[in-house]
Symmetry: C2
Subunit: 369 residues, 2 copies
């Protein structure tokens, strides 16, 4: 099994940047506008962002973890992660898509450590085992140190239509099951027929939304491929660590145009690699995805909190309230109880939670959002 | 349509005795040991016992309504029915089956009004329309005044195996759709084949568990057919209205053998009639039965409290807590939320609520019972 210590990179210069500004509604009623999924316990006893930080240990210690989130969520994020430096929880004044977020983080890390290598990752994924993940990160960091822009790809397990794909190109290296390839192309979320083609081909990876590069490299690449963005952000470099930081950040951010890192850079740069590791990965996108992640009883019933399943099968019972959830004869049914709302939805339909949230919005029931 | 005023009985002598000592578990989690179904709101805005008393108005005013319940439930029963005389809510010290309950009530009413006619009825039925029911009661009272023991039968609507049946005998009278017949025989709950036979025959009625007789008649009949019981209860007559009542009641009740009014009297007496009326009747035995009694939306979804059904059909959503119940894509599903328990059970399986209660008992979770 590969080990992070095998990497030739000096890991003291490796930083993590967790992108945690999301406000997803797919885990309603547990996730809310004021407590989106990365800040609540969905899988396990830690919140998803706590788990994301823990998953990096010891390879990336807490003092080299940064989080980019929103102003509304920054205080709660700091509260949940007391080991992080408070100013490493950076609040974007407004959301301006991923390219701005990446540039902001790169400028900050470049100020902290001009040799800094940054691993960007979302706050709401489930990845196991940790040691395999860290080994792949170390390979990615070494690849990044050589001047590449690194993405992380997941060998598809089924013909998913919900993920973007990466077609791998020429092999760069392969060791201990971790392979590095050039990227042939990025592919948007496919239809079912194409997803099946990609699965059969064996040369496609799911795009995990995890990236790694040297801060100085991505700054230089963005200056080349998205110059207007880097010009707009110039004032940030001098403001980092000063009392003016928040005002300067707000001033430069507000007028920015929205652009994703994919459009701004990944689809243009010629120095992109993809690392395929040996870990299991899931983005935990909905209640249904929990059926794969939480331990079930002999009948396939997953219980959290007080539950009493009688002749229940393949079901998810989550009580956050102390209320006992008693189920009789349920098959493929999810029941989620929170203090002010109870969701009951069959397995396979949890994407429709969005309709509940939309209906509550339309009814002006902000207290339930 | 028949009218109670048409009856030749002087209704001033007609009393109601509501048997309300039950501790049914079939409406868990709303019904509990300390608040069985007659004392909670299952159908409509009144508790079932309040609805039962209201259903008798104006034919039997509150001052002529008595309730026989248990010591544990008497205080709550009086609280819910402030119009009743407090001593008309009689607490049996222990349950000794229906013959003792009938004899106790008959002795009390005979003391209050020697011409008293008593209508015995359970506290947990749904009967509509009220005017039809009262018309049938008036016919029953007139039949009872002539010295008969009267039962009330319901024309079967389907081949029910959950009710006892009454086979009707010779016609006594028929007017305004209300018929009186001699009783040919009582039949225990049948199997499916017999239930279908009874339904097809047209000469069988569901036994509604509602009775009517003159107090003096039933006392005399019980003295003839169940002498030991009436002998044991002799001390009650002198004790009614005195400070010794509770002690005497306890002393005579404790040693009684259990016997039902069916075995003690109904299957032996030769003076039994059955009244078949024009009202709709249901005993509301389980959550499933509510699908017939509560108003539903265009998709057949019954909502109480805060609910948000999305693409739901033929379902029952009851929130007693203020929690919003959001259902997505449910068909034939009942969801009942109370402050400490949430029940989710498919339509057709609500009888199995008993298994939940049994499991909670086995776990020693008295607070949920």
């Amino acid at each position: 099994m590969p080990n992070a210590a095998d990497s030739s990179t000096n890991s003291e210069h490796v930083y993590a940047v967790i992108m945690a500004g999301g406000s997803g509604t797919r885990f309603w009623p547990i996730s809310r506008a004021a407590a989106p999924k990365q800040l609540v316990r969905i899988v396990g006893d830690a919140t998803m962002i706590q788990a994301t930080v823990a998953r990096l240990q010891p390879y990336i210690p807490a003092e080299r973890v940064l989080i980019v989130t929103t102003a509304a969520l920054a205080a709660e994020t700091r509260r949940q992660l007391p080991a992080l430096k408070p100013d490493h929880v950076i609040a974007e004044p407004v959301g301006r898509d991923t390219a701005a977020c990446v540039a902001l983080a790169a400028l900050v890390i470049n100020r902290i450590d001009p040799q800094g290598i940054m691993i960007l990752l979302p706050a709401d994924q489930v990845i196991t085992p940790t040691v395999d993940f860290q080994a792949a990160l170390a390979v990615g960091a070494a690849t990044a140190q050589a001047g590449n822009l690194v993405t992380f790809g997941i060998q598809p397990r089924f013909a998913a239509t919900g993920y973007g794909y990466i077609e791998v190109g020429a092999a760069v290296s392969s060791k201990d099951g971790i392979s590095v390839n050039r990227v042939a192309r990025f592919v948007e979320k496919p239809d079912q027929a194409n997803a099946e083609k990609y699965l059969a081909a064996g040369t496609y990876r799911w795009n995990a939304g995890i990236f790694c590069w040297q801060a100085s490299t991505v700054i230089s690449e963005l200056r080349q491929h998205c110059a207007w963005l880097m010009e707009a952000l110039v004032p940030l470099e001098a403001a980092w660590g000063t009392a003016a930081w928040e005002k300067v950040l707000n001033d430069v951010y507000q007028p920015l145009k929205r652009i994703s890192i994919d459009y701004a850079l990944m689809e243009k740069s010629q120095r992109i690699c993809v690392v395929t590791g040996t870990y299991q990965w899931d983005d935990v996108g909905s209640w249904d995805s929990l059926y794969d992640h939480l331990p079930a009883d002999a009948n396939g019933v997953i219980s959290r909190g007080q539950t009493l399943p009688i002749d229940c099968h393949d079901s998810l019972l989550v009580s956050e309230t102390g209320q006992l959830i008693a189920g009789i004869g349920l098959t493929g049914m999810s029941v989620i109880a929170t203090k002010d709302a109870i969701l009951v939805v069959p397995k396979g339909r949890s994407q429709e939670v969005k309709q509940v949230v939309d209906a509550l919005k339309a009814q002006g029931r902000a207290e339930l959002l």
